[in-house]
Structure formats: C-alpha cells, structure tokens
Amino acid sequence: MTLAMMQRGETPDAQQDSCAAGAAREVILAKFRDVAAAQEKTIVPLTDDLVLLDSGLDSLCFAIIVATLEDELGFDPFTEAEDVYFPVTLGDFIRFYERTL
C-alpha cells in the first residue's frame, strides 16, 4: 500500500494485506534478533508491549534495523511518513511498518 493510497483512505486487497503484514512482522522480529546478535546486545523477550528503549538495543541498533529493513522490505516508513513519529513499543514499531505496506 502506498502513502498516497493511505492518504486517500483506500485499502488494498484485505487478504494480500494481512499476508504481507504477517510476513513483515516475522522479518522485523528476525531483524531485531540478528542486529542484537551482531551488535552483541542481550535483548529481552520480544513482545508487542515491550518498550523499545528497554529492549536492550541502543539507537545505533535501531538505525541499523531501519536501514537493513529498508533493503529487505523496500521502504522506510519513518522517512516516508509526513509526521515525525517515534514508536514507543515494539508493537507500535511493527504496526508502523504494517501500516505503510
């Protein structure tokens, strides 16, 4: 789903959307684990209500997560969003990506 579609209030095909969203969730969770391992950080269990700043990752880790997710998913919702948005929990973070799909 494109930003323009969102602004027009359109929704893409529902089934396709939920598939893509589910896939995005898995990609994001895997990315958190990969980056934590690569940066030698110990992370707490990844639940939707986990506050990102309590996850054990620092801002550089989040920067790397966003950059490498852009390579895999083809977009970076932070830069595409018109408003400045800072997700607080892991659930916010994942929904932010799903919303832009």
């Binding site: 801002s59 920067a63 790397i64 966003v66 490498t68 970076d76």
Partner: protein
C-alpha cells in the same frame, strides 16, 4: 608581479641529456631537444606576450607543449583540466581576466582570440619575449558550484624537484598533466634526466596500460584507486617499474602491501600533495601515514596539526585563490589548511579523511576513508567505497560497497567475514550497516573514488 626567475623553457634547456629524452602522448611524441628550441604555437607566440591565456586543449600533449611556450611570455596561464565544463568557461574567463585562448580545436569562448597549438613544432623565430613571472592558475578538485582556481608560480611548482644528476628515468603517470599531481610529473620529466609517457585525450586505463608497458616505464605514479585497478588487471603483468608512487588519495596499508608483494624489491612510496598546498612530503618506509616527527621539522615545508587537520607552510603552496569570494588560502601565519584530518597513534600520524567528507552518525563522526582502510585489509577485497545513507534514527548511517579480487566469489559468508573484521577494528557506529558486493566502483576523471559531496 615579482621579478622574473628561470622560465620553463630555460629550465628545460638547462636539463641534462636533452637529445635522448621524449614525451610520448597517445597520438604523437616530441623530443625534448626539439621542444626546448621550438614552438607549437606557430607565429602566435609573440602575440600572447602579457596576455592572460586560457589553455584549453583536448590532448594533454598539447598542454605540455603550450606550457613551455607560454611560461615567461604570458602574464597568466589558466590550465583547464579535462573535466572543466564548457558551461563554466565564461565565468572562468571573467574571473581570470582572459584575453586569449590557446586551443587545439575551435574556440571555446565567443569573442576571445584563439591561438592554435599544433604539431609539428617549429623552431622559434627570434627570441620570444620571456621576462614575466607567469602566474600558473590551476583548478582545485572536488567542489561543486563555480570552479575554484589557485595561483602558483613556476618556482613554487618545481620547488620539490631535485635536479642533481641521476640515471635516466622513464616516467609514466595515470594522472592528467593538467592537474596538480600530473603537472608535477611533467615538470620532473622536463627538468631532470627523464622521459615521460602521458595519457591521451579521454584515454582509458586499458588503452594507456599497453603504452606504458611498451615504453618500459621505470617510474610509475597514480592514485591508490589507479593502483588497485592495476592490481586487478591481468594485462599489467609485464609492468616492471623500478619505482612505484602513490598520491592524491590516502594510501592505506593494504594497497601498499599489495604493491610491495606485486613488485618485489621495488620501492613503493606515497606522497602528500595538494593543489592548494603543493608538494608536502614523501613517505618511503612502506607504511601508511607518516612519522609524527615530520610535523614541526625544519625544511622547505613546515607542518602543524590544528583542530585535527594538517596545515602546511611552504613556498611550494599556491599564493592565493583567484576567485574573489574564496577567502584567504593561507592563514595569518602563512599556513594552508589542507582539510585532511589526522589521527596520532604510537608516534605516527594517520590520515582519516577529509574534513568535509565526515559522516555524522547520531553526532558521532566517521571518516569514510578510515572504514575503507579496514575493509581493504581483507585479503579478498580489492577496493571499497564507504558512504552515508540517511537514517531516521541517527541522521545518517555508514554503508559500504566492495569490489572483490577477480578470483573471489561474492557470498554471504565472505560479507560476514568482512563485517566481522570491521567489528573487531572499529567502534560499532563506524561499522557499515549494509555491505554490498559490486562489480566496480566509479573513479573520477582525476583518479579518485567518486564520493558524493557531503
């Protein structure tokens, strides 16, 4: 204008063994004995006396010939590099108060008289008036906007050239002789017991290589990017220089080691020079960086480090910018700030990059060159380019493109190895967040890695 000193033609005439020495271009070559007493400008030379001359040619060989003609005769020579845009010429002409153009083609400037430089060269009729201390104007590299010009004198340009008797040398240079590094080699060839092979108009690396092999160059010079390219080229095998020289970019340990291995027993030196500051120094101990005691030592070049950057005070430096809005070239004490950032470790200074090339990762500074130096240490890596990618969290993040040696296969394990090396050697914010294996990395016309302007 200061009192006249030795002109280029006089210095050439006084150099040894003229009859045996030549300059080879791509399409023609010229004997230096003939060049010393001839002109490539036909009857036009006398008419250029006292003029500010735009020297704009397609073939670098003609630039070499015209320089011998014009020094001492013209008031000012503006030496156009090949990549100077046509669209910038009117501005350049206005800033440099151009009254004439020397060209090997049609006039690039409407309304300005043109003198044509052409072969064959012909004996100079009578003695041309050569009593001016000609300003040599060169273009600084790597900036956008209005081209920036600096003013040199011939005395400053040849200040680093040792003219004691020496065995004959055949220089080859990947640099274009219309830029500072290449001009240094041209002047060496004209003033010492040397011949020179130069590049032709738009000549590619692959076309130049067989020519320098055929001429049997003994002394070869280029940027680290040129040398990395050469190391990747099987056709370079017959090259057997007696001296290998790098300058124009940071020579990292990986390229120095690779060259020492490739050319066993041959001295591999790297030199520090810039269009603004002139020739700084040479490093011949086979190691990257330079000994800390170079800074502050007596000699023709006095160096200091301030706010992390190298500053040089020397008669070899340019005197000033020609552009009125460019600000002073030298500070109140006569030092030129090179903008090249240094780091002191264990009694040695290491170049870490350009001040204006810094990547800002969440307020932490990363020089692309220091990351490239680490990546280049991996045995499978031939060259790398590190750059910034905008990032919503930290403003920017470091990413890398890597060219592998021809026999190394790009795979994830190799990428992981290179990144592991970076993690061992660098703090986390300097480690590339993404690393891409690419078939090649663009090199600018001046032989340097093509970097986006930060």
């Amino acid at each position: 204008m200061s009192a006249r000193s030795e002109t280029l033609r006089e210095a050439l005439t006084a150099s040894p063994h003229l009859a045996t020495r030549r300059i080879w271009g791509a399409q023609a070559d010229v004997g230096l004995h003939d060049l010393a007493r001839s002109t490539a400008l036909g009857g036009a030379l006398a008419g250029l006396a006292g003029c500010s001359v735009l020297l704009r040619v397609s073939d670098p060989l003609y630039a070499a010939l015209a320089l011998v003609d014009l020094d001492g005769v013209a008031r000012r020579i503006v030496l156009c590099p090949p990549d100077l845009a046509e669209a910038d010429l009117p501005t350049v002409a206005q800033i440099a108060e151009i009254d004439a153009v020397v060209s090997d083609g049609p006039s690039p400037l409407a309304g300005v008289p043109v003198a044509t430089v052409a072969l064959p060269i012909r004996p100079v009729n009578g003695t041309p008036i050569a009593d001016l201390a000609t300003e040599w104007v060169m273009f600084t590299s790597g900036t956008s906007g209005t081209p920036k010009m600096v003013v040199h004198s011939l005395a400053g340009l040849v200040g680093a050239i040792r003219r004691e008797p020496a065995d004959p040398v055949i220089w080859g240079t990947f640099y274009d002789i219309r830029r500072y590094g290449g001009l240094q080699i041209l002047l060496r060839a004209l003033l010492t017991n040397a011949s020179l092979v130069i590049t032709g108009p738009g000549e590619s690396f692959d076309d130049f290589l067989p020519r320098i092999i055929a001429r049997g160059v003994t002394h070869l010079t280029g940027t680290p990017s040129h040398w990395r390219r050469l190391l990747m080229t099987p056709e370079a095998k017959p090259l057997a220089p007696r001296y290998v020289r790098l300058s124009g970019e940071i020579a990292d340990q990986a390229v120095l080691d690779a060259l020492s291995a490739r050319f066993a027993g041959v001295p591999v030196g790297h030199a520090y020079a810039s269009t603004e500051a002139g020739v700084g120094f040479e490093v011949n101990d086979g190691r990257e960086g330079f000994p800390a005691d170079f800074v502050g030592r007596d000699g023709p070049v006095l160096m200091k480090v301030e706010d992390g950057s190298l500053r040089l005070r020397t008669e070899r430096a340019a005197t000033h910018y020609l552009n009125a809005d460019a600000g002073p070239l030298r500070d109140a004490d006569g030092f030129v700030d090179s903008g090249d950032m240094l780091e002191l470790r264990d009694g040695r200074y290491y170049f870490v990059g350009r001040r204006n090339g810094v990547i800002n990762v969440g307020g932490l500074k990363v020089h692309p060159e220091e990351v490239e130096a680490v990546i280049n240490r991996h045995p499978a890596v031939r060259m790398s380019l590190v750059k910034a990618r905008r990032n919503p969290i930290t403003g920017a993040i470091v990413i890398a493109e890597v060219v592998l040696n021809p026999h190394d296969q790009p795979d994830d394990a190799l990428k992981a190895e290179i990144l592991a090396l970076c993690r061992r050697e660098l703090p986390p914010f300097k480690v590339p967040a993404a690393l891409r294996i690419v078939p090649e990395i663009a090199i600018t016309a001046s032989g340097k890695l093509e970097r986006a302007i930060a």
